[in-house]
């Protein structure tokens, strides 16, 4: 589903990604772990071209992200083409980023209607189903400012699912939440993984979630992948010093 080959990303002189290579299979849940500043979130943003990579290759579903290859040269895609590709990838953000001037259901139906994926009736109907999936049927007409953080994040997940994505990216989805609200968001993500079989890449600090739901754990530090493996192995017997040091702090 996702294949990264030697992905490099620089912000000015600072190299944030120093050659990331990894692969995500359809239906797989991959959890990216690592200290802050290790490049996890940047890598996630590269996958739907919110950040442009400086070198390497990044494929989603066999197609290059953000570029078209002609011979040896890469041509950047036009804004509307990039947008069309992004519509196939859902993304959930640390700070929810719900549209504050729209109610919960308006947030969910906005993109499908605007991109003419559905009629208004269809969009509303599937939005109701999605809000039910995240347990917020009764909050459809509520504005984000009147929802708790956990509820906002669940609406954000429903909003991303409304585009019927084939891949979901989660950028520290529970880091901005009060501790007692983390569980409700992780529950929704767990159901998405187990019941829907969604392909997911999750940047997280929730070791419990990674251990329980993750198929693969990737430990990143300083812009490189340090260690990859099944959660059981990585957490039980970390092979690298840096992984050990990190895990000893968070476990």
């Amino acid at each position: 589903m996702v294949r990264a080959e030697e992905v490099h990303k620089r912000f000015g002189r600072l190299e944030v990604l120093k050659g990331i290579s990894l692969e995500v299979q359809p239906g797989e849940v991959m959890c990216l772990l690592g200290p802050s500043g290790s490049g996890k979130s940047t890598f996630l943003r590269c996958i739907n071209h919110l950040e442009k990579i400086n070198s390497g290759r990044l494929y989603v579903d066999g197609e290059l992200v953000g570029y078209r290859q002609q011979g040896d040269k890469l041509h950047e895609l036009h804004d509307s083409e990039v947008a069309r590709k992004r519509a196939e990838i859902g993304m959930v953000f640390q700070r929810f980023n719900l549209f504050p001037h729209m109610t919960a259901i308006e947030n969910v139906i906005e993109a499908p209607l605007l991109l003419k994926r559905k009629t208004k009736a269809q969009a509303r109907q599937s939005a109701q189903q999605l809000l039910a999936l995240v347990g917020l049927s009764d909050r459809a007409d509520t504005y984000p400012s009147q929802l708790s953080g956990g509820q906002q994040q669940r609406v954000a997940i429903a909003r991303a699912l409304a585009m019927e994505p084939k891949l979901m990216l989660f950028d520290e989805p529970t880091s901005a939440l009060d501790p007692e609200l983390v569980g409700e968001v992780l529950d929704v993500m767990r159901r998405l993984a187990t019941e829907v079989g969604m392909t997911m890449i999750v940047v997280t600090h929730e070791i419990g979630f990674a251990r329980e739901v993750g198929d693969t754990v990737v430990f990143m530090d300083d812009g490189v992948v340090v260690e990859t493996g099944a959660p059981r192995e990585v957490f039980a017997n970390p092979r690298h010093e840096r992984t050990k040091a990190f895990l000893s702090k968070v476990l």
């Binding site: 919110l50 993304m91 953000f93 980023n97 549209f99 504050p100 729209m102 906005e110 504005y143 009147q146």
Partner: protein, 294 residues
């Protein structure tokens, strides 16, 4: 303790005394011609001038706002040529006096005697005509005022756009919206809170700026008054008549602006502009509560 306020009392007395002197002088000096002011205040020519002034204000602001939004979006474009063109426009129209721009547009026929629409560089012409008959004083006036206003509105809209959290653009992009869709549906509606108050200011300012159009002999409020006093030499009463109308309309606009600002200012950062009555009532309570805290 009365001693502490003695300075305040002295100032109040001095101000009250000056006020009495001024009012007395204004009321008793026959040269103000208050009778004449009353006579002309509702005369058809003055009222017609007022109507033209309102029309110029509305049309020029409409041009300014629409073009201003376009320029602001262009200014923030990743394409340096597009952003540069907008920057050049703003630099040029803010950098020259609006009075000069009004004169320029009225003399445009000296620069381009014949105007035509067609394919440039020797292509066929579709329509053409005499610049003098196409660019009427009204058109010259709204072109000058509207194009000038657009430069100022562009900066106001840009500030509004920048004020919207970048996460909003990220979220909209991630959902598959294009840059323009994101701007129209997500960013601009939220930028309104920042854009509306200074736009009210600009409207009030525009109402008075339209008086500059008198230099190209277009009968808005000021020029209507000038036309009358050119005949009867009652300059002061007629200038007062015009001033009273400017004051009346700016007062009405200020009151309107107050309500609009209050409406948008109430939103707080996390709240949208579509607040329900309940939300208003709640946020009102919260503000009062905070105010009551020591």
């Amino acid at each position: 303790m009365p001693v502490r306020h003695s300075g305040r009392w002295v100032v109040a007395v001095v101000v009250a005394f000056l006020l009495v002197v001024i009012v007395h002088s204004v009321a008793t000096n026959p040269r103000f011609g208050w009778g004449t002011v009353g006579h002309y205040l509702f005369s058809s020519r003055i009222l017609h001038g007022l109507l033209v002034t309102l029309e110029l204000t509305a049309v020029s602001m409409a041009i300014g706002i629409v073009l201003g939004i376009v320029l602001a979006v262009m200014r923030l474009s990743p394409n340096p040529l597009v952003a540069g063109a907008s920057g050049f426009y703003i630099w040029f129209f803010r950098g020259t006096p609006v009075l000069v721009q009004i004169l320029f547009w009225s003399f445009i026929s000296a620069l381009y005697p014949k105007l035509s629409l067609g394919i440039p560089f020797g292509g066929p012409e579709l329509v053409h005509g005499n610049a003098n008959s196409i660019i009427t004083p009204f058109l010259a006036a709204i072109l000058a005022l509207g194009l000038n206003e657009a430069a100022y509105m562009a900066e106001i809209v840009r500030a509004g756009i920048i004020s919207v959290d970048e996460g909003q653009t990220d979220a909209a992009s991630a959902l598959g919206m294009t840059r323009l869709q994101t701007m129209r549906r997500i960013v601009l509606p939220q930028a309104m809170r920042v854009i509306i108050p200074p736009t009210g200011n600009e409207t009030i300012s525009m109402l008075k700026t339209t008086s500059l159009v008198s230099v190209i002999a277009y009968p808005e409020l000021l020029y209507s008054a000038q036309l009358i006093y050119a005949v009867n030499y009652l300059q002061i009463p007629l200038l007062l008549t015009a001033s009273i109308w400017y004051l009346v309309v700016t007062t009405i606009l200020s009151i309107g602006q107050y309500y609009i600002e209050r409406h948008y200012g109430r939103g707080a950062s996390s709240r949208g502009n579509e607040t329900t009555l309940l939300q208003r009532w709640r946020s009102g309570l919260m503000i009062r509560h905070e105010g009551a805290a020591p």
